[in-house]
C-alpha cells in the first residue's frame, strides 16, 4: 500500500482567505471525527469554491471532518471552519451525537466485539 501523499506546497490554500479569520461558535462543537453529510437537496449555489467542494463531497454520503479535510486536501483547522459555516446554513447535517467524548463501557464493549470479529 503506498503511503498517503504529502500535499503539494503549491496547492496550499491560505486558510485566511477561506475563513477570513472569523470567530465561529459552531467550530467549538466540531471534532475531527464528527460525522456529517449534506442536507437533502442542498445546492451549492452562492458558495465560495472551497465551501462548494465540501458540499459536493458530502452530498455523496457520510464522512468525518478529518476525511473531508484529507479528500479535499485542506488543513483540518480550515475544514472545521468551513463545515461549521455550512452547518450554520443547514447545508450540512451532523450525524454523530454531539461533541466527541470518551466512550462509556457499553460503547467500549461494542468496539471490542467489533475488533474481535476482525480476526
Amino acid at each position: 500500500m503506498s503511503p498517503p501523499r504529502r500535499r503539494d506546497r503549491e496547492a496550499l490554500v491560505r486558510p485566511y482567505l477561506i475563513t477570513g479569520g472569523r470567530a465561529h461558535p459552531t467550530v467549538g462543537s466540531l471534532g475531527i471525527t464528527t460525522l456529517v453529510r449534506a442536507a437533502p437537496e442542498t445546492e451549492s449555489l452562492g458558495l465560495g469554491p472551497e465551501h462548494r467542494r465540501v458540499v459536493r463531497l458530502c452530498s455523496g454520503g457520510a464522512l468525518s471532518v478529518a476525511e473531508i479535510a484529507a479528500r479535499l486536501e485542506l488543513p483540518a483547522s480550515v475544514t472545521r471552519v468551513i463545515v461549521a459555516d455550512l452547518l450554520d446554513e443547514n447545508r450540512l447535517q451532523v450525524l454523530s451525537s454531539g461533541r466527541e467524548q470518551a466512550p462509556d463501557r457499553e460503547l467500549l464493549q461494542e468496539v471490542l466485539d467489533g475488533l474481535r470479529a476482525l480476526r
Binding site: M1, T33, G60, R119
Partner: protein, 201 residues
C-alpha cells in the same frame, strides 16, 4: 451518479457513532503501517497547524511571534458494526507536538504506543506525556527484525509500566497482529473504565 467518488469513500448510512484511537510512536516505528493495516480505506493524510507555544521548539531561528508548525496526521477508519466506526490517527508523539495531540486526544478512547525494540527509549517521552494527561494506553513493540525479545519483566521495567498497562508485540503489517494489539488496548480501557457512569437520582 456520474463522476462521484466511489461508494467506499463514504460511511454506511446507518453509522452514527465514531470513536478514535491515537497511534503514537517515534519516527519510522510503523505508525502509518499499523493504521493502514487495520483501515478499510487507503490511509488518508491531513495536516494540522499548531499555533500555540508548543511549537517553540520547532523555531530554531527564534523568528518568534508566529509560532506555527504543521504536523502530519495519517489516519484510517474501520467500520465495526452498522452504527459504529473506529478512526485511528497516527502521529508523532513528541512533547513539542503536545498541543496537537491534546486536541486529538480529547474524546479519544486511548492511545497505542508503538516502540522499536532496538530503540525503546524513543518511546519513553510519549508514555510520560500520556501518563501526565491520564489518557489510557497500551505499548506495542513492533517486531521489525524478529529480534530476540528480552523477558517481559525486563521490558516492563525498562518502560516502567504499571502492572495493568498491556505490553504486547506486534507486526504492524499483519492484520491479525495489529488487531490483537488494538484489542489489548480496548480491553485495558474497559478494565479501568468506571462500572457506573455516576448515576445519581
Amino acid at each position: 451518479m456520474g463522476s462521484e467518488p466511489s461508494d467506499e469513500v463514504y460511511l454506511a448510512p446507518t453509522v452514527r457513532t465514531a470513536v478514535k484511537v491515537l497511534v503514537l510512536g517515534p519516527f519510522a516505528v510503523g505508525k502509518s503501517t499499523f493504521v493502514g493495516t487495520l483501515s478499510e480505506i487507503p490511509p488518508l493524510y491531513t495536516e494540522e497547524t499548531i499555533t500555540r507555544t508548543g511549537a517553540v521548539a520547532d523555531d530554531p531561528h527564534g523568528i518568534s511571534g508566529k509560532t506555527t508548525t504543521t504536523v502530519a496526521l495519517d489516519f484510517g477508519r474501520r467500520t465495526l458494526n452498522d452504527r459504529l466506526v473506529l478512526y485511528m490517527f497516527g502521529t508523532p508523539g513528541q512533547r513539542r507536538f503536545l498541543s496537537l495531540w491534546e486536541d486529538l486526544a480529547y474524546g479519544s478512547l486511548g492511545a497505542l504506543v508503538l516502540a522499536d525494540i532496538a530503540r525503546i527509549e524513543e518511546s519513553f517521552e510519549i508514555i510520560g506525556v500520556l501518563e501526565e494527561r491520564g489518557l489510557p494506553y497500551a505499548v506495542a513493540i513492533n517486531d521489525f527484525r524478529n529480534a530476540e525479545m528480552p523477558p517481559d519483566e525486563e521490558l516492563r521495567e525498562a518502560f516502567d509500566l504499571l502492572p495493568e498497562v498491556p505490553l504486547v508485540t506486534c507486526d504492524a503489517r499483519e492484520r491479525d497482529s495489529a488487531a490483537r494489539a488494538m484489542i489489548s488496548l480496548v480491553e485495558h480501557v474497559l478494565s479501568v473504565c468506571p462500572q457506573q457512569s455516576q448515576e445519581s437520582a
